[in-house]
Symmetry: C2
């Protein structure tokens, strides 16, 4: 298998961008930009997110058994960049973004067009990223998209011609 | 959880389009258009695809323990539509598309810009679609994209303003 062809073929898969948030049982908050996301069932509604296995966000999600996918909207590139790094948080904000507490205890960022809150029902640890399967327990849409909903999300490709990211 | 908000929030996740192919141990060929796909690890390279649990393609993948994601390119809308239905196949073609046999035995369609061939390493059956985790064992890029690779793939949204699909 040619390494360059592998990179190119896998980079052909298009992605949106999301801030993944979670709050562990010990009160630790995690927040990170992720893109490896797909829906995986209608009934029950399931989503899959791949999270770096040796990361603090994954440790928090394992503890919390829940997470929120905060869906980034068009124009929120600076938020995506901010959460590529680890950020400070307190009772009012995470990385400068105000939040409220969702029904699972996970933080819901209030400046995003939509969120999907999940309870973790399965984890698969077979690679450098863990596959986390979440059952959707709550959603919110702050701004109803005018056209197709998938036109409203910030895409990985909008970060610039040379920016690729995984996880 | 509001049903319309759930639909809208989950439809914000953007997708590419792929023809999923597999050949079962009894020789049965499966081919279907899918969109619920994400990479899930760099090392080993893993992808996740959600496949309708009660479908013929999923039965074939369970038997074969392998599959190919044939990545649709810009302008291949008619191929995506053709494989929404079940198609005829023989030793030369599947649904009118010529193919060769990949190293796992799964068919590789020869008219697509790229393919990702996988060995199934895990399946999660918790919803109306099964989550299939594949380790990438081969790839091919027939046409090196000129710009970003994720600009070269056919997107779900290109099928038209009202077309949504899952699986």
């Amino acid at each position: 298998m040619d390494a360059n062809q592998k990179k190119t073929a896998l980079r052909m898969i298009p992605y949106g961008l999301y801030i993944l948030t979670s709050k562990g049982k010990d009160g630790t908050t995690a927040a990170a930009t992720v893109n490896w996301v797909t829906q995986a069932s209608f009934e029950p509604p399931l989503v899959v997110v791949a999270v770096k296995a040796d990361s603090q966000p994954y440790a928090v999600i394992r503890s919390a058994e829940s997470f929120v996918l905060n869906i980034l909207g068009k124009g929120q590139e600076s938020v995506a960049y901010a959460f590529f790094k680890s950020v400070e948080s307190d009772a009012q904000q995470i990385g400068g973004q105000p939040y409220r507490v969702g029904r699972t205890g996970a933080p819901i960022l209030e400046t995003m067009p939509a969120f999907v809150e999940c309870r973790v029902i399965e984890r698969v640890e077979k690679g450098d990223h863990a596959i986390v399967v979440g059952e959707v327990v709550d959603v919110g849409v702050a701004q109803e998209p005018e056209g197709r909903p998938d036109e409203a999300v910030l895409s990985l490709k909008e970060l610039g011609p040379r920016i690729f990211y995984g996880g």
